[in-house]
Symmetry: C2
Subunit: 240 residues, 2 copies
């Protein structure tokens, strides 16, 4: 099995990969050590500042990347400037759209981000040669699809308060739980970005956050730092 083989032979893998966050992620976790070496030779670590674009909407990108650290937001913008964030991605997610060169969305660093960039052509070749890699990417695509549809429910049918709670819940589930019930985390998004993710305005986001604070569902320290004393209570807010 490919997974076992690559795991068992880390000795031959590129140095840079040994301690990489994405080493056992969707892509690199299923490559043979030979493939990993090949990919490593053609890959490049890159730091991207918060707010900077990784891939532009409408552009033809000849690169894919793995997220090693930080949070990436996928955005769609309309000609008149209206904007919608359609997904958040975390390490060790894979960023890119196989089969289609021109991107229908932009990928931007929400926080400071480190990514590992590699040539599209090379990975495309590996995909066609490696059933397990295709399976893995297929699996990620389906998970993203599930998440997208779950979010459609949030966008279409939840109230502003439920929307904000849904977002906090989403972020919280990507953080380490402090105890069985309480979770602490830093928001990777500004109020404006939260609004663009929830289909709201900055002001309503702000108001709903203070509502949640006043009702005791969350505590806030320094704007972006959030404490959820009781995740069950948080889940009750989104009634699902």
């Amino acid at each position: 099995m490919d997974v076992a083989r690559s795991k068992g032979s880390d000795a031959g893998t590129p140095v840079a990969c040994a301690s990489c966050q994405a080493r056992h992620g969707v892509v690199c976790g299923v490559l043979s050590s030979g493939q990993l070496k090949d990919l490593g030779r053609h890959s490049l670590r890159r730091k991207v500042d918060a707010g900077s674009e990784i891939v532009a909407q409408g552009s033809e990108s000849s690169f894919y990347s793995n997220i090693m650290r930080g949070v990436v937001k996928l955005c769609k913008v309309m000609p008149d400037g209206r904007q919608q964030i359609v997904d958040l991605q975390f390490a060790p997610d894979f960023v890119g759209r196989p089969f289609v060169r021109e991107s229908t969305l932009s990928a931007e660093a929400a926080t400071d981000v480190e990514i590992c960039v590699f040539p599209r052509d090379l990975l495309d070749r590996m995909i066609s040669e490696t059933p397990e890699l295709r399976r893995s990417l297929h699996d990620q695509a389906l998970k993203e699809l599930d998440a997208a549809r779950e979010w459609m429910l949030t966008l279409g049918r939840r109230t502003a308060e439920e929307k904000v709670a849904s977002l906090l819940h989403l972020i919280a589930t990507h953080a380490e739980p402090q105890t069985a019930t309480t979770t602490v985390f830093d928001l990777p998004l500004s109020r404006a970005e939260i609004a663009d993710f929830l289909g709201l305005t900055i002001e309503t986001v702000s108001r709903q956050i203070t509502r949640l604070r006043k009702s005791g569902v969350i505590r806030i320290e320094k704007f972006r730092h959030i404490i959820v004393p009781n995740m069950d209570e948080m889940e009750r807010m989104i009634s699902a």
Copy 2:
């Protein structure tokens, strides 16, 4: 190449498949004639009346299906009854969620539907043995993901009028264009279903439809039968 092989040997394929709408679809279009015969032996045509459920949300379905005729809606409902349609599927789309047995959404017939049902286990086995089949399903998943994200923009950032126009545009693009600019089609959805797809109420949907009618963007005959004299004008309504 698998595609060529299966196309070239229709003589050996099951009789039922010969004239099937899904014969060259995502699944059957990439199977070898042997696999097609195998799948055909274990598959079953089924008619489903409009409004009936094909797969229930939260249930464990041991079947996949191909849509041969009609329109299927994928729905999510909340405990309190709020509902969101997250996708429409048309012949010859594949319906099912590989890798996960329990469905997080329900599939319901929007119109009268004919589907071809086959065992999950059998197709799962074929997927793992047939790279081209996995590629094909991966491709469909990514296309559905693109569509879901496009719809998130509609749900989050478009006005009621733009939402209704977006829906009509979506349906229209799945119908045969009458001339270069004009398209005629039957709505596969009731006003209530349209509302659940757009995150609106029945009444606003109705009002926006009559607005579009009065402004001349569409003409209506018999509630469900719509004429779009000029698709360019329709596209201008959704400003994208």
